[in-house]
Amino acid sequence: MKKLIIVLIAFVLGSNINAQNNDFEFSKTQFMIRGYGHTGFNSMSSGDEKESSYVGSAFAPIFLFKHSDRLMFEAELEFGLENNELEIGLEYADVMYVLNKYMTVRAGKFLLPFGTFMERLHPSWINRFSTRPLGFGHDGIAPASGIGVELRGAFDLGGPKLNYAVYSTNGPRLKDGSDEPEEAGMLLFKNFEDNNTSKAFGGRLGLLPFADSSMELGFSAYSTSGVGNQDSEYENVGAFLYALDFSFVKQIAPLKGLIDIKAQYNNSNVDTATFIETHEDGDVEEYSFDNKSNSFYTQLSYRPIMADSDFLKKLEFVGRYSNFNAPEGAEWEEQSTQLALGINYWMSWRSVIKMSYQTTDKEGGHGNVGITKIDGFYLHWAIGF
């Protein structure tokens, strides 16, 4: 029996060594760090107030762990310097599994397909400007990410293409004004632990009608039946948001270059609720307002990639218009319009120097009265890696 065991062990070990020597294969398990970063100079003026500053580097590493040809974990961290402090954020961290050709499931914290800007276009080496359009980012109305589960995929319709995404997340929470009275009625999308039992449901449908995929039309919707804290008077305040997005990218020979047009319209509709305002003399007043907001942006860029000059080929001329309307009667009531013009120099496909001028007319916003005009000059260097 002992001899038999020794022979079996020798056989197993021998076959393992043989396999290691002769059957070498690349591992399907791969780990990779990608990401992007940017740094630059900002100069802004508003009336008599002027400020300028070199802005610290922002660094956003993306961790990709490919477990197999179908399974992957991805995560992105964001390091930034704001208000003389280092701020760290978890942009997304999710696990994804390709079920079949047409379906992929994701779970965790993921970028929401609400329009295309936040999901696809916001990274600094992709965004043609150093700033985001109005309505996105801090105090914006478009949700950027959520924690939940998502199903997505795409179909080839024999020329045209259709892509879809449907998801359920914790949904937003309502700012009831108890912490920040001037923001009562706003939706806060950082809802890491759900404040109630209502989940948000949403999705996006994208259609690329032409065989060359030059144009994409998208419709997104996002809805929840409750955004307030559980057992509070706001528990059953619902919200419905939708977005329309458009993209057109095509090389046009007579213009000797590539045209890139992007646009997105966001609309937010939150059920009317009653909030409390405390005046300086201590008097308390109840108020409510029609809680509807919207924002829009459109951007046009042109790269003369067919020009004779190598220098011209690397240039990009870009313009963007955006506006934002917050509800009338809210403490954060605002009507803003913004125009931005810029010239970019592409050092490579993933490294760009961006120079832009931006002017914003802002009426209201967080208790401000009257129109504020803000002009800004931005010079940034962004790199993807």
Partner: protein, 99 residues
């Protein structure tokens, strides 16, 4: 708002069920007309690379990553940009062949 919420939840549920049925339906027994395929002009990976990547960012240079990296990046981009199976496989093969 409750009505909109219910309608959206219902539409999404139907969409998920419908997509699951379509995506999981077998095509093994579908008769393929060979003559149709013969005259079908298929796009190359280079064409997909030029058309698809430029929709969001400048098309990447194939030489900047090795084959193993392109495998990982392709899976990431397939989901991030919601690309079709044909698009991503053709782009991946082109990038691996041209680096």
């Amino acid at each position: 708002m409750k009505t909109i919420y219910k309608i959206l939840a219902g539409v999404l549920t139907i969409l998920v069920i419908g997509l699951t049925i379509i995506a999981c339906s077998s095509s093994k027994n579908v008769h393929v007309n060979a003559t149709d395929d013969e005259f079908k002009i298929e796009k190359s990976g280079a064409q997909y690379w030029g058309e698809t990547c430029n929709r969001c960012h400048l098309a990447p240079s194939p030489v900047d990553y090795n084959d193993t990296d392109w495998e990982t990046i392709s899976l990431h981009m397939r989901v991030r940009a919601n690309l079709t199976d044909i698009e991503i496989n053709k782009i991946k093969e082109f990038l691996k062949s041209a680096n």
